[in-house]
Assembly symmetry: C2
Homo-oligomer: 417 residues x 2
Amino acid sequence: MAILTRLLERAPQRLPGSPGYEEAARACLDEMRGIGLRAWTESAAVSRWVRGAGESAASAVFLGRRAADRLVLRAAALGLSEPTPAAGLEAPVVEARSFEELASLGDRVRGAIVFFNHPMDRTRLDTFSAYGEAAAFRTRGASEAARLGAVAVLVRSLTLRLDEAPHAGVVTYDPALPRIPAAAVATLDAEALSARLAAAPGSRVRLRLDCRNEPPGEAPIVVGQWDGTERPEEVIILAGHLDAWDLSPGAHDDGAGCAQAMEAMRILKALGLRPKRSLRVVLFPDEEYGAGAGKIYAASPRRRGEKILAAMESDRGGFLPLGFGLGSDAAFDRLKVWEPVLRACGIQWVRPGGGGSDVGPLAEQGVVTMGFIPDNQRYFDHHHSALDVLAAVHPRELELGAIVEAVMAYVLAQEGI
Amino acid sequence: MAILTRLLERAPQRLPGSPGYEEAARACLDEMRGIGLRAWTESAAVSRWVRGAGESAASAVFLGRRAADRLVLRAAALGLSEPTPAAGLEAPVVEARSFEELASLGDRVRGAIVFFNHPMDRTRLDTFSAYGEAAAFRTRGASEAARLGAVAVLVRSLTLRLDEAPHAGVVTYDPALPRIPAAAVATLDAEALSARLAAAPGSRVRLRLDCRNEPPGEAPIVVGQWDGTERPEEVIILAGHLDAWDLSPGAHDDGAGCAQAMEAMRILKALGLRPKRSLRVVLFPDEEYGAGAGKIYAASPRRRGEKILAAMESDRGGFLPLGFGLGSDAAFDRLKVWEPVLRACGIQWVRPGGGGSDVGPLAEQGVVTMGFIPDNQRYFDHHHSALDVLAAVHPRELELGAIVEAVMAYVLAQEGI
């Protein structure tokens, strides 16, 4: 908890390529050196985007027919969104709960703001499954709407709760289509907007987003290594992503994963253990924009002389540890034998299937990737919103994650894979 | 979540035998009938105890040597504690972290207030194990101190956090020893008290508790039954305890367990299912005082004509479901086959070993007892304190518990055991 607390205090803003991210990288280098790791950075090209200083509670306003219908929508530009014209734009709103419904709207979409109001499916046990399904409207919605002539999109926030906070996240533009502005709307306001639209179809929304995409830049991948005593050339990676959305300090996403990787090293050092193989913390700079740095890291010439055996990633929040998902079936057979050891520190299972956005590209090189999988029932309550703060992290849950990462890392360092 | 919300709104105070408990019983009868259960009550003798109206933030004050040393301790009388004299008492404080340390204090205990400052062991993965170990000072501490001549005890609250809230719970007096007053002290104040005592040994505390033990009374065990279609005489029990400590509405302990048992019935009704055997919700009135009503229920003549097959209890809070612990090895072999079904709704395991305070006495009659076991990392944050409120319950976690109870109940109703 101490490492996460220090990181969030020192670098609460960590958009890729931003000054805040640079400070976070320095904070982690200091942390790693304090633990006794050799620490360095490797540079990666990253997209850069800035939320407008003028974005406020009045960026999106439902106008309705009469003054009394006016409703300020709590909204936030999606990451990498284009801005509206400086004066804002105003257009009728059409609501769609699916891409099929969007298609059925036909000509009504032209010149309109499309409001994607697809709730996450709360009947699914796995909230990531519900997220994956609903996220299509956030990522692809703008281009699908632009294809039909829409001028902007509003997207219902991706959370299972009804709350007042817009939950951001990335929008992905189809290069062949106009790049129209896109914003997330808090779920409570999505419900209210839907009701008012039903009562007054064709009502207008005024939207003003002054975010901007800047020229691509560079951002450091932050690395800290503990050289093995017997086979230092063989490396086990513990990964997280140091970038975070700007609406909060990103305590769970993914401050927790970064802190756990470093904390796991601290624990093993404090126990006086001597890993035979090298343990390496790697913190990536642009998972939220699509994890381009993960590809850059895997493809770097620096990887040529290295023998990376395994790479585990923690990017599902600092919640109660449940299991590990392994990216390779062969590794599953090999690691299954360690289940009792992991069980003793609270892990319920080791399963095939898993990895992580940032370590994924390493799998293509034969590296065994694995995802640390905590409980996810509360994850999307906070995700990508102003609610993802330190107070939302339970110290025991966070620390148990660091402990199981430490155990898994040490098993791999001593036994290989 | 709706059932729990209604219960806590209507009956936030549920000490055994109190008017608040009576209201809770009526609320649950209404709830059960609304679900479509046959509902009734069975009476049980219970102890009755009332916290004093005068108990306040100034009930326990560390006096120190100078006025500046004065420290108001956030404290609360333990349940079933005797009061102090009406004017309060004042005595030097001696600190003990263990019963061994208490014994070593010898004559210094006579006439003193013993301050048991034994923290829960945060290195244990299972917080109930840490609780069980540390709870000895709360339950037995007063009598152990009285044996050496102490006039009262202060007990460090049983929580893994440092907080400002006294966490209450029952004190158990040895009938052969003087019944001295006992109070819990918030962990932050326990730390402060320990530091001030170290700086000024022999300092005094003024304690005033106006709680009182009243003559034993009667309280209803609340029962709701859904008669089976084929073997109505065979019964599966879903249990919780309706009583709660008075410092909060007892949302997790055990409002959650009561609500889950009723919600499980509601779910099965809503699905249009027709259980072959009878399902029965039983809500007990005095778990916190030692679960005497569980013994009364098991021994009641009404049980003679019944064939209770199994009794499951939820009394570990409304947290993420992890497993079921079974009180009988034979039942384990029988129920193990249903693990895949339970897994589909989030259960990680079914294990031998388990039950519950209230259903325990039924095990002696051959009933298969089982405990619903959710995650316990956050349980003691709230337990027995003013922090055990509805806002501390996560709707998805609570509802998942109801779902797995419904599945387990339905499997037992259809397949027997």
